[in-house]
Amino acid sequence: MKLIDSALKPEFTSMFDVEHIRADFPILKLQVEGKPLVYLDNAASSQMPQQVIDRLVRYQTSEHANINRGVHYLSETATAEYEGSRRKLQHFINAREDREVIFTSGTTDSINLVMHGYGRKYIRAGDEIILTTLEHHSNIVPWQMLAEEKGAKIRVVPISDAGELLVDEYKKLFNARTKFVGVMHVSNALGTVNPVKEMIAFAHSRGVPVLVDGAQGAPHMAVDVQDLDCDFYAFSGHKLCGPTGIGVLYGKAELLERMQPFKGGGDMILSVTFEKTTYNSIPHKFEAGTPPIAAAIGLGAAVDYLSAIGLDTISAYELKLLNYATEQISNLPGVRIIGTAARKTAVISFVMEGVHPHDIGTLLNHEGVAVRTGHHCVQPVMLRLKVPATTRASFAFYNTMAEVDTFISGIRTVQKVFT
């Protein structure tokens, strides 16, 4: 099978040439408040290369119809492209089979699918679910809803002041009632890369399945779900240079087959009578209704694009950006980095003495610099690290060292305004 559509390959050869890469992203040419855009909000959503935009246009102009039911040309084309995209995603995360890849609307939807499909079937009163302090609200709230419904209990893995999970404490939380573990691969707020492989192995030694929230993992490092041996891996398209409204839930086939459907409707059935409905096999059992076909195909193009650059190349380059930005920001008086784990992706959360993150964000915007301010949907992390909010710069492979400089000089400007 042809994995990389040659038309989708970024136009560069051996060396990582960031200027070449940037030329693929039309939005990066934008001016904001008269300054060149410096987009450092990639952990919230990444930008889309022309190759993906073109793929969406091609689909919409010459391939679109509803999938799975039509016998006509367009329906067959759309179905083939949609399923082809599923295989691209399968290879992207090295899943054993394509039916282990379920298209969802995003990470939140993927986690909710596991909560409804697995949790509501297998979690009972008195059972315990282990989560971590670092989790995004989207990997807390569904489990709280389940715990409330079932009378189950949530146990929370603590973190160090640096923002690293305390793995020994994690291991101590296990007991006979432990039935599920949810852990994020990479912290969205702090950039901490969690030792998920070790955590999964430990959970499995106790017979407990693990869901990994990979929203911030998949875009920044090569993910191999077989190597991790995770039971579920959830991620979003729009943080991966793809469209919004599409995401993936990877699940081991054996688990997915045992799970109950989350949403009922068309496409997820084999037969329906008012007496009895027989569900379709996986992955279709979990894809009720017409899916976002264009977005799924766009996501396929996005992973082609990223794979052509190489996730290892991306990780290595982003690490350089992180190291440079960390060094530069550490030289600024009155600025403190929140989240100083030994293993991080290119995320820098920080607080500045006497200046509220919202003011920093607004003033950086004036310099053309886009950052995120607030609690980043991780209020427990903010509470634990005793900061009400932070300013977060999150980098992608299309950011440059010069943009780090603009960001740093923007912070200096903020400091001048507030002295």
Binding site: E33, H356, P357, H358, L363, H366, H375, M382, P388
Partner: protein
């Protein structure tokens, strides 16, 4: 309006040296206002003598826009009749949301330095929070929020 010109001298000064910051020994009304989107919160205490705001103070955790707005608000309403304060609340909300014509008669005076927030949708609530909280305190509502049913952006203007 650009994002920087909001940070004028007067706003930066009130942020740095907020007036009427702290608590009151004697307060007839108080309210806590929350902006759950950013975690900011503001406590406002005031003492009504008859129909007049005899004293007012605020404290809390907030950005410069919110703190300066609270500081300037307290100086503007201190000593004023309750109905005059409600007029200012109404006019300030209208200004921040862009529905007040500043060239027509109004009572905002120096408070018009906040007019620029109308062009920064994400910051409108920062400026409004103190006024929203004052409105709640004057109406004996003890907690309020910039979101959901309490949302000042959706609240009927002048619904006192």
């Amino acid at each position: 309006m650009n994002s920087k010109s909001l940070y004028q001298e007067v706003i930066l000064d009130h942020n740095k040296k907020p007036r009427n910051y702290g608590t009151l020994d004697k307060a007839s009304h108080h309210a806590v206002g929350h902006n759950p989107l950013c975690g900011d919160h503001l406590d406002i205490e005031l003492n009504l003598e008859g129909d007049r705001i005899d004293n007012i103070a605020f404290h809390g955790e907030s950005c410069a826009i919110c703190k300066a707005s609270a500081s300037m608000m307290t100086t503007a309403v201190k000593g004023k009749a309750r109905s005059d304060a409600e007029t200012l609340i109404k006019e300030f909300r209208e200004m921040a949301t862009g529905t007040l014509n500043l060239s027509e008669d109004h009572h905002l005076g120096r408070l018009t330095v906040f007019a620029g927030v109308r062009d920064l949708p994400t910051r409108v609530k920062c400026a409004i929070l103190p006024w929203h909280t004052l409105h709640a305190a004057l109406n004996s509502v003890t907690t309020t929020s910039t979101e959901a049913e309490d949302d000042p952006m959706h609240a009927a203007i002048g619904d006192a």
